[in-house]
């Protein structure tokens, strides 16, 4: 089943008299349970693509279908509501709230309509990610890998269809990076969640179903992984 189907994405920025193409016509489709990496040099439009797929940004041209629904022209509050329902985010710098414990950080997306079942789900997710003993620790008491696990748990709290990860291993050593990628792989396989990871890290490519290379806002060669 196709979760995201983006057609002819163009993103233009106008700086001074110049028009800058961050994306220059990109087609991108994502199946449920697929783990895809997007690679490319800086300025190739990776993050822009991720933001558009994550409904954080809107394309100048082109359409985005999320579960078959056209979400291209939606306003901010509708996009926000959709994000809350179907999309999870993992960031390079984790962006955990320093005042909240691990469990509370996982609950954050649903904090405003939280109930006991949210708390329970947050605990289950953290336990699944091997943080069962660190539930009530604050972020500054956690290692980088543990923080990223908390962030992953947070991205899954709303049972999303898609998890978008921006340099998920960027701040981690390769050993921890592997553990995190293992988690992603497992989530994609077990929960049938589609995962898109924007990365510089070749390590990621060992774990993904396919890699998309972006060059100057267009799709370069695409490589399928066998496995």
């Amino acid at each position: 089943m196709t979760v995201i189907d983006a057609q002819g994405l163009v993103k233009r920025y106008r700086t001074g008299g110049q028009t800058l193409y961050a994306l220059a016509g990109i087609d991108f489709a994502l199946e449920a349970g697929e783990f895809v990496s997007i690679m490319g040099p800086s300025g190739s439009g990776k993050t822009t693509l991720l933001n558009i797929l994550g409904l954080l940004d809107t394309p100048t041209e082109g359409t985005v279908l999320l579960e078959g629904q056209d979400v291209t022209g939606l306003g901010d509050s509708k996009r926000t509501a959709l994000r809350k329902r179907t999309i999870g985010f993992v960031f390079q710098h984790f962006y955990l709230l320093p005042t909240l414990t691990a469990v509370e950080n996982v609950e954050v997306p649903l904090l405003l309509d939280s109930g006991p079942q949210v708390k329970k789900r947050a605990r289950t997710l953290l336990e699944r990610l091997g943080l069962g003993e660190r539930l009530d620790h604050k972020p500054d008491e956690l290692s980088g890998g543990q923080k990223q696990r908390v962030a992953i748990a947070r991205s899954l709290i709303n049972s999303p269809k898609v998890v978008l990860a921006d340099e998920p291993t960027g701040n981690l050593d390769s050993e921890t990076g592997r553990q995190i990628l293992d988690e992603f792989r497992r989530i994609a396989d077990e929960d049938d969640v589609a995962i898109v990871a924007v990365t510089h890290d070749d390590l990621v490519n060992e774990y993904v179903d396919r890699t998309v290379h972006l060059v100057d806002g267009t799709i370069g060669r695409e490589r399928k992984n066998g496995g």
Binding site: T47, N51, G54, L56, D57, D76, S77, T80, A81, R83, K84, R85, G88, F89, F91, H93, Y95, L97, P98, T99, L100, V108, P109, L111, L112, R154, S155, N158, D166
Partner: protein
């Protein structure tokens, strides 16, 4: 969550709240100070507002009030009013065989209408003299002491209770003898005491109408209007004090604005994450406003506690009764200061909250 966010930057939140505390204390205690001032002043004024004094108008060559004038005044005064005609003359007086000094001697027919005794008895009053408390204290006089008035020895009957400071009948510095001992027929002043200020005012107009219809024979001095003016003045003073105090609250508001603005800049990315994971603009707005409100609320409560403390002190020293702080106008000032404090922090939290909420998550997360 708002509460947790505040504990993160404890020092800064504390300082911002402190601003609100100071603002609230300033408004409340200056307000209470004004109230205490007014209260102690009104206490001193006593019943001045109900009294009026009728003098002969010497400018029109009227040197004294006749028995007929007195009858007219009694007729104009209400049935419950006390009308006390008083004679005066200046005589050499000697206390305790000291040197003679010239003093105004007051002749009163029924002193019990005007005065109460602190020591001794006021009535019956056919001979002897009554002295005010200041006179008695200055010369160590007690009932039974002797003074000399115009060469004649006179026995002190009573020392009088202290009067209201601003009253024309205040006896503190007076020597009073029976009116019958005066040879002159006319009276030099007449005190009229009504039960209310409004009644006093009506009586004053009646007296003016009947005694001054052909020529201005008398002055009628009424303190009621004076009291009104004074109270108006106090209102103005209080308003000015509150105005000065609100400047400090304004400063507090700006410091909250600053704290919140700093914290939105600092937490740009966090707020971006919140927006990314599905917080609507108004959710972010709510969280930020909640923080500002919390700051204002805590500051306000601390301020109220402190200002009640300050109020106790002010009232203890100004009125002599610390418990006087629990009076209605004070409650009003404290309440106003508190709500003003909370309001200030909400208003100054508004802009940073709006700024935080309306930032695009993409921009915020780009770092």
């Amino acid at each position: 969550m708002a509460r947790r966010n505040l504990t993160r930057t404890k020092m800064r939140s504390l300082l911002a709240s402190l601003g609100i505390v100071i603002g609230v204390v300033a408004i409340a205690s200056l307000g209470m100070f004004g109230v205490a001032l007014q209260y102690s002043f009104t206490q001193n004024l006593g019943n001045v507002g109900n009294q009026l004094t009728v003098y002969p108008n010497s400018g029109e060559n009227v040197t004294e009030l006749t028995e007929r004038d007195i009858r007219t005044i009694r007729r104009e005064a209400s049935a419950t009013a006390t009308v006390s005609p008083v004679k005066t003359r200046v005589e050499p007086v000697s206390y305790n065989r000291e040197d003679e000094v010239r003093e105004t001697i007051y002749g009163v027919e029924n002193p019990e209408e005007l005065y109460e005794a602190k020591e001794g008895r006021v009535s019956p009053f056919r001979s002897g003299a009554l002295v005010g408390s200041s006179v008695a204290e200055a010369h160590d006089l007690h009932p039974g002491s002797q003074i000399t008035v115009n060469g004649t020895s006179v026995r002190i009957r009573a020392v009088l209770e202290e009067g209201d400071a601003f009253s024309p009948t205040n006896p503190d510095n007076r020597v009073i003898v029976p009116a019958t001992s005066f040879s002159q027929r006319g009276y030099s002043e007449v005190y009229v005491m009504e039960s209310t200020g409004t009644q006093a005012n009506e009586t004053a107009m009646g007296i003016r109408d009947s005694l001054n219809n052909r020529e201005d024979r008398v002055f009628v001095q009424e303190l009621g209007s004076l009291v009104d003016t004074i109270e108006e003045q106090f209102q103005i003073i209080n308003t000015v004090l509150a105005g000065i105090a609100s400047i400090s609250l304004l400063v507090a508001g700006i410091s909250i604005l600053n704290v919140m603005l700093m914290s939105t800049v600092e937490r740009r990315e966090e707020i971006g994450v919140l927006r990314a994971v599905g917080y609507q603009k108004r959710d972010v707005l709510k969280v930020m406003l909640m923080e500002a409100t919390l700051l204002g609320f805590l500051g306000g409560i601390a301020g109220v506690i402190l200002s009640i403390g300050a109020g106790l002190a002010i009232n203890h020293y100004a009125v002599g009764d610390a418990m006087a702080v629990f009076r209605l106008p004070n409650a009003w000032y404290v309440g106003a200061a508190f709500s003003f404090g909370v309001l200030t922090s909400i208003v100054s939290g508004l802009y940073p909250a709006w700024k935080a909420a309306s930032e695009e998550p993409v921009d915020a997360l780009r770092g």
